[in-house]
């Protein structure tokens, strides 16, 4: 497994912790949501960093109390068609104001990464043979968008406003 962000491969300080493994000191660990709920006190007091992996059926209200102390949220695609991931990303950012790393994992393809970034994701856990060239190419596919999203990228409407003849701005 490798981790990439919009610029390419990045060093990853996070390690997965199995539900029955002891919590190591001075390490940054990603745990299941069940374990986070059960052991959050010892996790937050022992580990150097705590992250959680969630799936499309997550109840974000249950996750809410832990959000300020989480260093990464990993959201898993059940299949590449699991579009819930995109909405979960937006809700975490826009409703719950989660601001640390948000990472997609699972069966997605490079062509979906661009939309994930637009929905607030910041990194991707991918297989070693992930086609980086296609990933970078697909991230550069569009110079603008029709609709505003979490990333607040420049939209066509922004450009039209800037382009409007002076005096017609509203």
């Amino acid at each position: 497994m490798a981790v990439v962000d919009r610029n390419g491969p990045i060093a990853d300080k996070w390690t997965r912790l199995a539900d029955d493994a002891p919590v190591p000191r001075a390490a940054s660990v990603i745990v299941s949501f069940a374990r986070l709920k059960n052991e959050h006190n010892s996790l937050f007091s022992t580990a150097a960093g705590v992250g959680v992996e969630i799936a499309g059926d997550v109840n974000l209200k249950e996750l809410e109390p832990f959000l300020p102390r989480l260093g990464v949220i990993v959201v898993r695609f059940a299949t590449m068609r699991d579009g819930r991931v995109f909405s979960i990303g937006r809700l975490l950012r826009e409703q719950y104001r989660y601001s640390a790393d948000m990472r997609a994992v699972g069966d997605f393809i490079p062509d979906q990464a661009l939309f994930l970034l637009r929905c607030g994701f910041t990194s991707f856990e991918v297989a070693e043979n992930f086609p980086l060239a296609s990933f970078k190419q697909s991230l550069a596919a569009y110079s603008t968008w029709y609709q505003r999203a979490t990333d607040r990228a420049t939209t066509v409407r922004d450009l039209r406003r800037e382009n409007a003849p002076s005096g017609s701005k509203s």
Binding site: G56, A78, M80, R81, D82, G83, R84, F86, S87, I88, R90, L91, E94, Q95, I109, D111, Q112, L114, F115, L116, R118, C119, P131, S134, Q137, S138, A141, Y142, S143, T144, W145, Y146, Q147, R148, A149, T150, V156, R157, L159, R160, R161, A164, S168, K169, S170
Partner: protein, 552 residues
């Protein structure tokens, strides 16, 4: 009509480049078929029985003559010289080569067209009333909000992998010519008590395996708040729609399972968040798009137009055609012509490149350069002067498209069926052709009056059989094609779902069965003015069942 600015062009061009790159990666094998399928579907590219099929979007059914010519040229250069207009105001090409799709997309982009999101589990082409802008009964041109929705939904980062496909339809008039209650979201332009124009939102209609007439979820949304409301509607669906069973994945199932009131409540709860996200359209941008749909420069013409009145009096066939194929125009002295793509014995919705070129020429000469596509698989010349109608009728006769049958029994909707479609269980087109031959006598058609026959070759219902006054559904019975009859469906503002009459009929018996149904109606109607659907609603299915299956 809407004209792309440089930003629309940029995005369309970037999309062509992106898909070209995806095709290249598929051909080298970097993308597997499983990975490529959702990508190609989002570009309207299917694999059918004989080849790839490309579905090109005709947003809200509006085309310029230039675009019609391009569609014709693509048919000639990359396909087998014809195209098929569909019930969703798209055009389909049946013999497409994957390796040529990038070129075709570039050709389409040159005339401000695309195949974006014409399939896949995303927001599909927005459809609208074919008489938008020319109908006297509309509150507002539905294409304004349709274009706004088209732009908002294009490459939407959150809603491109929904549980299932998602279809919008918009009507600007109380008389619904867009079948809005059979769509995932149907939008009707309305006025509130304060006299402000806004939108009523129906959610959760559809055909397919589980036909549902959409309930009204929100009676009024203000003009500049609709996009955030729609985004809330979609987000609730994206999060909670079923993904475990593709036959239960449409929003109609979610709305039914939650109940319309609970669904509406969840949308309301989500709405402040989507509103804060800044997706709503600014008044200046709304006005910019609105301006494209301002009425064209009509001439002042006094009615009656003498030459038109004379021609009707002298030529009975022309008078009959005017009666069925010319719709009242909001401007005096004009008419909106429906071009019947249903010649007797023909393939519903098919047009050759030569026919398309002839129609583009007619549009330029007589209809201010504009053509529309209807969900009944016909075309429309929306702006024809009454004085020109006779010439238009004559020219349409020369290309085989002057059948005076709009709204009548031979104006049949048929999906491509098993002749082309890999999902179909039975053929649709031959049934339509045989029915059309059986009812060819135009005088008899006029005696029968308004009657819509709609044929689907499988339960996916692309032929809208649930909404047919007479619906025909093709099924596979132990390897043989069989056809079930439903009666009483309607796709207008009185939307209803047809009732299955009984066991299906073999291919050689279906035409006779429909004929019996029609004869039963003729016998039981109270007056020639009582239409088939009115009579059916009065008497119910029983007399028709008895005529087909005998008394029980």
């Amino acid at each position: 009509m809407y004209i792309y600015d440089k930003f629309d062009h940029t995005i369309t061009r970037e999309r062509v480049a992106e898909f070209s790159q995806q095709v290249a990666r598929r051909l080298t094998g970097e993308l597997s078929e499983d990975q490529f399928r959702p990508l190609r579907l989002m570009n309207g590219l299917y694999l059918q029985l004989h080849a790839y099929m490309l579905r090109v979007a005709i947003p809200y059914g509006t085309l310029s003559s230039k675009q019609v010519r391009k569609l014709a040229d693509i048919a000639k250069k990359y396909d087998r010289d014809y195209g098929h207009f569909t019930t969703r105001q798209n055009i389909q090409y049946n013999w497409i080569k994957l390796e040529q799709v990038p070129e075709i997309l570039a050709e389409l982009a040159s005339v401000e067209m695309h195949a974006n999101q014409t399939s896949g589990n995303c927001i599909r082409n927005v459809t609208a009333d074919q008489f938008a802008g020319v109908a006297g009964d509309e509150l507002e041109d539905p294409r304004i909000i349709s274009e706004i929705i088209r732009q908002w939904s294009t490459f939407h980062p959150e809603f491109s992998f929904l549980p299932r496909k998602f279809k919008f339809a918009v009507t600007g008039a109380a008389k619904d010519r867009a079948a809005i209650q059979f769509h995932d979201i149907g939008i009707q332009v309305v006025k509130n008590d304060a006299g402000e124009t806004g939108y009523a939102v129906y959610v959760g209609g559809g055909m397919g395996r589980t036909p549902v007439v959409a309930p009204l979820i929100k009676p009024f949304v203000a003009r500049t708040e609709l996009l955030s409301y729609l985004e809330a509607c979609l987000r609730v669906y994206n999060l909670h729609g079923r993904r475990d069973n593709m036959y239960k994945a449409r929003i109609k199932i979610l709305v039914r399972d939650l109940g319309p009131a609970e669904y509406a409540r969840q949308v309301e709860e989500m709405w402040p968040l989507t509103r804060a996200a800044g997706v709503d359209i600014e008044p200046a941008e709304e006005a910019r798009i609105r301006a494209f749909f301002a009425p064209p420069p009509y001439e002042k013409i006094a009615e009656p137009v003498a030459s038109f009145v004379d021609a009707r009096a002298k030529t009975r066939a022309f008078a009959q055609w005017v009666q069925t194929n010319v719709h009242t125009h909001k401007v005096a002295g004009y008419g909106a012509v429906t071009i019947s793509l249903k010649p007797i014995g023909g393939i519903p919705g098919d047009a050759s490149s030569a026919q398309m070129h002839a129609i583009a020429d007619l549009a330029d000469t007589y209809s201010l350069g504009e053509v529309r596509v209807t969900h009944v698989q016909n075309l429309v010349l929306p702006n024809v002067k009454q004085a020109d109608l006779f010439a238009v009728w004559q020219r349409l006769g020369e290309i085989g498209f002057a059948e005076a049958n709009i709204g009548l029994v031979t104006d049949i909707i048929a999906c491509p069926g098993l002749d082309y479609c890999s999902l179909a269980n039975a053929r649709s087109i031959p049934v339509a052709q045989q029915l059309s031959e059986r009812f060819a006598d135009l005088d008899r058609q006029h005696i029968i009056g308004p009657l819509q026959i709609k044929i689907s070759g499988c339960i996916n219902a692309c032929g809208h059989h649930h909404a047919g006054h007479i619906g025909i559904l093709g099924v596979d019975k132990a390897g043989q094609e069989f056809y079930q009859i439903t009666l009483g469906g309607a796709g207008d503002e009185t939307a209803s779902i047809g009732t299955l009459l009984g066991p299906g009929f073999a291919g050689e018996d279906i035409v006779g069965a429909v004929d019996k149904v029609v004869n039963t109606y003729l016998e039981l109607r109270q007056a020639p003015s009582e239409t088939f659907i009115e009579a059916y609603r009065r008497v119910g299915a029983t007399p028709f069942k008895e005529s087909l299956y005998g008394r029980r």
